[in-house]
């Protein structure tokens, strides 16, 4: 992965304050070539502000961002060579058609951007509506036009800010499919999202931000491993199951959740638990791995910070 060339994204100590609110607080990010990098956090965590600093749209109060080794604040537009994407919803001129808008940004790109317009419109399946004014586009069409606008730059790094937000389920599926396809073509992708499932589906590395701070940076599988797998359990007698599970080796954090139990265990411990439950005369209605939600990850990461006991490791140890 590392061949001595500067990484697509290298941010060090980024800080952005608005009045006495610190929107971004000492954020480090490293995105290597070929990564599909998830930038995960709830709305208002400072993701967009960070992306704006990466693209040179706003000035950090401290720290610096480099794209392929070039700082947008120092080198201006040259730092964005090979970089494309959008922050928040992509915005175009409502009084011009989709194609005309792409012609405009292609003119500001120079090079062969204009020749790539047709291919980009095909890629995002917007070719048949390209002649219509953007003012009449749906939210999903605008998102796709935003991707097309990025693709005509023939980017080596694509920065996408919550590209599936506001899309219907089919639109979300198409957008994720498109992101995976682009990543398959060798484009490095930085994808911000507040949906854990999306990051789990698309990304191999991620940073998790909360209140402007990165609370985890590293590989996705390491995160899931280190924070421990959770299972959902439903039996014919949950009260007894709770008691048994609590005393079962390898099973921890057993608690009642919804119409069943939630517990932390690895695959072997979960299998062992199922045998013990059946031997005790309980019928198992369901025992299934629970997909980690963002809230749950926060819970586990912060719990790890305080007790450190149960699998969840604080950020620095995981990264090391």
């Amino acid at each position: 992965m590392s061949d001595g060339a500067p990484p697509p994204i290298e941010a060090r100590g980024l800080v952005k304050r608005y009045g006495h609110v610190t929107a971004v607080d000492d954020v480090d990010l490293t995105v290597d070539r070929g990564d599909v990098y998830g930038f995960l956090g709830p709305n208002g965590a400072g993701k967009t502000t960070t992306l704006r600093m990466l693209l040179g749209l706003i000035r950090p109060d401290a720290g610096a961002a480099r794209l392929f080794g070039r700082d947008p604040l120092v080198q201006g537009a040259a730092a964005l060579d090979g970089v494309a994407g959008f922050v928040e919803a992509p915005r175009y001129y409502p009084y011009l058609s989709g194609r005309r808008n792409l012609e405009l940004v292609a003119a500001l790109d120079g090079g062969g951007a204009r020749e790539r317009i047709d291919a980009a419109l095909d890629t995002v399946e917007l070719a048949d509506r390209a002649g219509d004014k953007v003012g009449g586009y749906s939210h999903g069409m605008r998102q796709r036009l935003g991707i097309a606008g990025a693709l005509i730059r023939d980017p080596a790094l694509l920065i996408l800010d919550e590209p599936t937000t506001g899309l219907d389920p089919a639109g979300m599926r198409d957008m994720r499919h498109l992101v995976r396809r682009l990543a398959g073509q060798g484009i490095t992708v930085l994808l911000s999202s507040h949906i854990m499932a999306e990051v789990e589906e698309l990304c191999d590395r991620l940073a998790i931000v909360r209140s402007g701070r990165v609370i985890y940076e590293g590989r996705l599988d390491e995160l899931l491993h280190s924070t421990g797998q959770r299972y959902r359990l439903r039996t014919t007698d949950d009260r007894r199951a709770l008691e048994i599970a609590t005393h079962q080796p390898g099973v921890g954090e057993v608690r009642t959740e919804g119409d069943g139990l939630s517990l932390a265990a690895d695959e072997d411990a979960a299998a062992g638990l199922s045998i013990v439950l059946v031997e005790a005369g309980l019928g198992i209605r369901a025992l299934m791995p629970a997909a980690a939600s963002l809230e749950e990850l926060f819970f586990r990461l912060t719990e790890g910070d305080t007790n450190g006991a149960n699998g969840a490791a604080p950020r620095k140890e995981v990264v090391a």
Binding site: L57, G82, F86, L104, G110, G149
Partner: protein
């Protein structure tokens, strides 16, 4: 990928778009917006209304320069209209676009779109200034052209009596009128520069348009307060009359030279301040 990407990027640098390209697209954007036609439409309609009014009424604007000659030659009509246009029409026409041209990007959220391509911020700003100036120039040309052509068709293309009382032929009169337009363009562009500054700072079209218009009107008010006579030569509103120096015999260059530096004194700092803000500002909207 790595090996191929670097030379490709070097080639991209060589083909980075010039400011001319950005300027061309700024003009295309203006051409696609209704407000542009609102301004240019006003520049066409006002002279037409003036000529129609002269046709249906017997009186005339006798008390203004060239007012007595409006029915003698079409050449007098643009000159009379320049005077009326300076009160609010041209400040309005020019602010309508110059006050919007930066703020519109904030309104549409497109500032981030154009600033994440391959052009520098200062290129975009320079292109916007050039486009706003081009629009002001076209509006003035339409205004005077419509006035001269329709005025001439109605009242004839006859020799023009200058402010010194001598008569000049049609050809010479047209040259002097063109010169007058050039002199008139100076304060127009100064108003445009102020509108551009307000557009950049406020990020709000309405505030910038109204603000620039208010500044123009306040200067006119200051100009008619008798206790403030010493201010008058340095007011922008006064410079709208400098062209009259060209229509004297011999030509009086003093007001034109003063207009040049007074207008520059308003325009250049405004543009420099706007450029500084534009290049450094945080783009948070959209």
């Amino acid at each position: 990928m790595t090996a191929a990407a670097l030379p490709a990027r070097a080639a991209a640098a060589a083909r980075r778009p010039g400011t001319w390209t950005v300027y061309k697209w700024e003009l295309l954007k203006l051409r696609a917006q209704k407000r542009t036609y609102l301004g240019l439409g006003a520049a066409v309609v006002v002279p037409c209304i003036f000529i129609v009014a002269l046709m249906v009424e017997t009186g005339g604007p006798d008390r203004v320069p060239f007012g007595r000659y409006v029915r003698e030659t079409g050449l007098a009509i643009p000159l009379v209209l320049l005077l009326f246009g300076s009160i609010w029409l041209f400040p309005l026409i020019v602010s309508l676009v110059a006050g919007d041209i930066v703020a519109a990007e904030d309104r549409n959220g497109t500032m981030k779109t154009i600033l994440t391509r391959s052009v520098e911020r200062h290129q975009i700003f320079v292109a916007k200034v050039a486009a706003a100036f081009t629009y002001a120039f076209v509006a003035l040309l339409l205004f005077a052209g419509v006035a001269a052509v329709f005025g001439g068709l109605r009242f004839g293309f006859n020799p023009l009596t200058t402010l010194s009382g001598n008569t000049v032929g049609v050809g010479h009169g047209l040259v002097l009128t063109a010169g007058a337009l050039g002199a008139y363009l100076m304060p127009v562009l100064a108003v445009a520069s102020i509108a551009l500054l307000l557009s950049t700072i406020t990020r709000n079209s309405a505030a910038a348009i109204v603000g620039a218009l208010m500044i123009s009107l306040v200067m006119q008010l200051l100009g008619i307060i008798s206790g403030l006579d010493f201010l008058r030569p340095y007011l922008l509103s006064t410079q709208f009359d400098s062209w009259q120096g060209l229509l004297r015999d011999p030509i009086d260059w003093d007001p034109i030279i003063r207009a040049a530096w007074v207008c520059a004194a308003y325009a250049v700092p405004s543009l420099l301040a706007a450029l500084t803000v534009f290049v450094r500002r945080d783009v948070t909207g959209g």
